[in-house]
Symmetry: C2
Subunit: 316 residues, 2 copies
């Protein structure tokens, strides 16, 4: 089968990569999205080697569960060992022995086929297109915030960052909070948000400092973290939605002095993400910039790396 494999140094297009033979469900990938984590992996994050990609929509072609065959699905990306304490508590996403699709010890979605355990798959209704379905995984990650923090309707909320993940987080937070401001850098991305009724700002004015109950850091940058600590009120909450690559100047003194709660947040629940897309509560219109076949991965990744781009998808 065709696949895009990262060998630790380069991403390679392989025409005859072996089809997964794992005894798990076999899924023919219809569409897969390029995510910030994929770009970080190419920079060495997670020391991953294997087929890249973890945001996908596909069709089940082989499974022990015959009812699944032919069904359109999306898939939870963490696969637990099912033996440890975390797995026994239903926290497979935190299993210390887990594999993660396209991220850790498990070939991913930038290929014609992928395999996942049946329990990881969610059948999606026909009302959700493939283009929408590739957003289920990042929307689920956004919903994780609602699993972790009791969002109060009258909170002032700030999102730091205007990229693909920020756009989805804002859509999810809008279902709980009405006063949302995005601090970004890219006019085209902020314009999409303004159409959704979100306030947008470039740069932080003194009057904005220490005035938000909740701040979501979604840039993965040092400056994004410092901006978040500047925006949040004393006793407020900062969600850390991206890993911060740089370890320099991460001063936690303001967190202690201002009694800030920092909440690390990663993968989330798929079911509410699918329901929100199906019901139209969350729209991903205007988020996909381009679609490429696997063979044109170089062009696809070049575009994904461009700071003006929101989302690029691959069609194996």
């Amino acid at each position: 089968m065709k696949a895009l494999r990262f060998d630790g140094k380069n991403l390679n297009y392989i025409k005859d990569y072996p089809k997964p033979q794992t005894g798990e469900a076999l899924v023919k990938v219809s569409m897969a999205g390029i995510c910030g984590t994929d770009l970080e992996i190419l920079q060495g994050y997670m020391s991953y080697e294997g087929v890249l990609g973890h945001e996908f929509a596909g069709v089940v072609v082989e499974s022990k569960n015959k009812d699944l065959i032919g069904k359109r699905v999306v898939g939870e990306i963490n696969v637990g060992c099912e033996k440890c304490d975390s797995c026994k508590k239903g926290m497979q996403r935190h299993c210390p022995n887990r594999s993660v699709l396209g991220i850790l010890n498990r070939d991913g979605a930038f290929a014609e086929f992928l395999s996942l355990p049946e329990k990881n798959l969610h059948v999606i209704p026909d009302s959700i297109t493939d283009k929408q379905a590739v957003f289920v995984e990042p929307i689920a990650a956004a919903f994780e915030i609602k699993e972790q923090v009791l969002l109060k309707p009258d909170w002032r909320v700030a999102i730091v960052g205007d990229g693909r993940l920020s756009q989805l987080i804002i859509s999810v937070l809008k279902t709980s909070c009405s006063d949302i401001t995005c601090f970004g850098r890219h006019q085209n991305k902020l314009e999409r948000l303004e159409k959704l009724g979100i306030k947008t700002k470039i740069g932080i004015k003194p009057v904005e400092e220490f005035s938000y109950d909740l701040v979501v850091e979604a840039t993965g940058s040092n400056s994004g973290f410092l901006d978040s600590m500047k925006l949040v009120k004393p006793k407020g909450t900062v969600i850390l939605k991206s890993t911060i690559a740089s370890k320099e100047n991460l001063d936690l003194t303001p967190a202690v002095v201002n009694e800030i709660t920092l909440v690390g947040s990663r993968c989330g629940p798929f079911r509410p993400a699918i329901n929100a897309l199906a019901s139209g509560i969350i729209s991903v219109d205007g988020l996909i910039d381009s679609e490429y076949p696997l063979e044109k991965f170089n062009e696809a990744f070049d575009q994904a790396k461009n700071s003006k781009t929101l989302k690029v998808v691959l069609k194996p």
Copy 2:
């Protein structure tokens, strides 16, 4: 009056420092404790200049409230402007214009007299000795954890650090949780805890990693932070109880990947601290190593800096 004043470089004993004339209550200091923050201020923290000291017990000698005169008191150290949004919400501890006794724009307790607004003072019962009362402020800081986090009785709890603040935090957490382990470095300090039924360890074995629901970082050191992130379970909570002076290598990646909640925690409520001392729920026996007159401040601070010391008090 006699006072110990820090001029930004040195701590000086001044025989004839002017008595406070602020219109606030005037308190004759009976006893004052040297705290880690005082030692940090001598290293440049907060850029403070003025009379040092914020843990004290004293007697009111002047006040507009005649009922207070002659009463033994302790005092909340943050004084808000009473005009800003934080103060209007009763959050004087987070007033952006606040002064803080012996820490920020307000002369402190290492003197014969100090002044504080009447509303900051708490009368203490005769059953609490001066030696116990100097611990009210740090015990209140420990109680702040209970204001911020719902402590579950079956949680496994770890405290990183075995110093004076850790000892008090452990006494407070013991009122909610029964499974508490202190990770320390000093045999004498750990022995005091063992007598209280606390498990103690020097160094982290692999079996201890990722196994605590709640970890309290009370060392203020980089290594203490890294140890805390090593000890806490996925989805667990780390309380940051000390500011961390160094900004090097503060990697927040594990916080995101393991979805850790970090809670910055500073000053706390005095009333439960006084009640806990009065009822005997919290004991500070064996915590004071030595008592010095103000004049012998050099010896007092030398001993306070010694890593084996728990608490040194000054008697003006």
